[in-house]
Symmetry: D2
Subunit: 139 residues, 4 copies
Amino acid sequence: MDLKMNIAEMEDFLVREFPQVAEDFRIERSDADGIGVRLRVADRHLRPGGTVSGPSMFALADVAMYLAVLARIGPRALAVTTNCNIDFMRRPAATDMLGEARVLKLGRQLAVGDVLLYSEGMAPPVARASLTYSIPPRG
Amino acid sequence: MDLKMNIAEMEDFLVREFPQVAEDFRIERSDADGIGVRLRVADRHLRPGGTVSGPSMFALADVAMYLAVLARIGPRALAVTTNCNIDFMRRPAATDMLGEARVLKLGRQLAVGDVLLYSEGMAPPVARASLTYSIPPRG
Amino acid sequence: MDLKMNIAEMEDFLVREFPQVAEDFRIERSDADGIGVRLRVADRHLRPGGTVSGPSMFALADVAMYLAVLARIGPRALAVTTNCNIDFMRRPAATDMLGEARVLKLGRQLAVGDVLLYSEGMAPPVARASLTYSIPPRG
Amino acid sequence: MDLKMNIAEMEDFLVREFPQVAEDFRIERSDADGIGVRLRVADRHLRPGGTVSGPSMFALADVAMYLAVLARIGPRALAVTTNCNIDFMRRPAATDMLGEARVLKLGRQLAVGDVLLYSEGMAPPVARASLTYSIPPRG
């Protein structure tokens, strides 16, 4: 599948459209298989005991899938998450997290994919998520 | 069903165990039917355009179900979310949000329930979530 | 909300469009709050030990939500399930099951709702499901 | 990871414990990566128009994950599905379906994994599912 945006274009898009959170994320990989996004974990992402919070993991899964869809359809800010299902499987470490997303369907109205979330330096995934995005009609 | 914690005890528990986020939430109702929790929406919960962010809605659903479970099992901080499924149905307003949770199963190992999320002043729900919590064995 | 089909019309529709399974189901209630559908449990729905099988519970949840959507949009056979999330909470009895569905969103493209599944004669729900239907454009 | 049952042992187990459905399925692969299960599609699995029914796809996902868990824990019939989330992404063909399951977590109480479902002869997946199994304590 042709990619319509490269990593620099997607990071610019994040800064422009989501300025509050853009600095939390780095895109590490974007190719035909999917995308890899790093959550740069800071104090605000942690719970007492030093684990990454559930909402922070949700945010990483959501951003990773959003960017994977954008890479395939081009910059359309209005794509919205309609469903997210997450299984929290292991206690995350207090390190950066990596979200590895793949797009399983890219239809005219809906995109579907899944994301594995990893704590950096830990082999088994911490969480898995599947997400559906609604894609706005072309204007 | 007997409730093992009242609202003041649950709010104290939140402050003690989750100091970073406790101020975001107010428990408005806790009874045999479930629990109502308010997300006091501030700038940090908003996306450009003035909608409450997905991670903030996830956080409200998660806290509401957590508190509904705690009210029924007493203060056990180690209950952990194992699954969350959210449907985002409507664009939220830039107002406070209310999460109305009910517990559908309270087993020895797992608790299951669902949450409807409302933007204050808007009748139809903005999102629905179902969550599973793993309950630690009594020590 | 106006209902566009009554119970007899929906049962005729089931017989016409889904002849293999129509006899498994009876619509017991359809009103502004939602719909109640009975799964007439027979041997083919049971697992050894006399519990209703997972696929049979999935079928009941899916049919109940489908009919609740149809009642609201009229007979459009092409509405398709795009997502189903089920929590299996208790062991069902070997009796009929009842699915109580409510529609939480009825948009132009997507309908979202949830279903509680009960074993007849048992008070707590056996399972809960949420489903999304994709609604075809009007021809 | 060591596998505790081979394909012949798992097929014997299916015949013994789930005689009504065992003939519907064939295990095609079982290794450290997961398991591949074939649904031998017959008239009873089809909807009008010749597509495999939702309940049949649910059944394939559920059996594939069940067998993947069994291969890793040995024959314990009481493992039960507690959650299943399915995204139906494409219209299936009227051919056999293949379920490719992987186990993402195998804990003492819960096993989590996901399954991609394919129509034989069609490259993109028809559906994806994630499932959680509750594992009974060793007797």
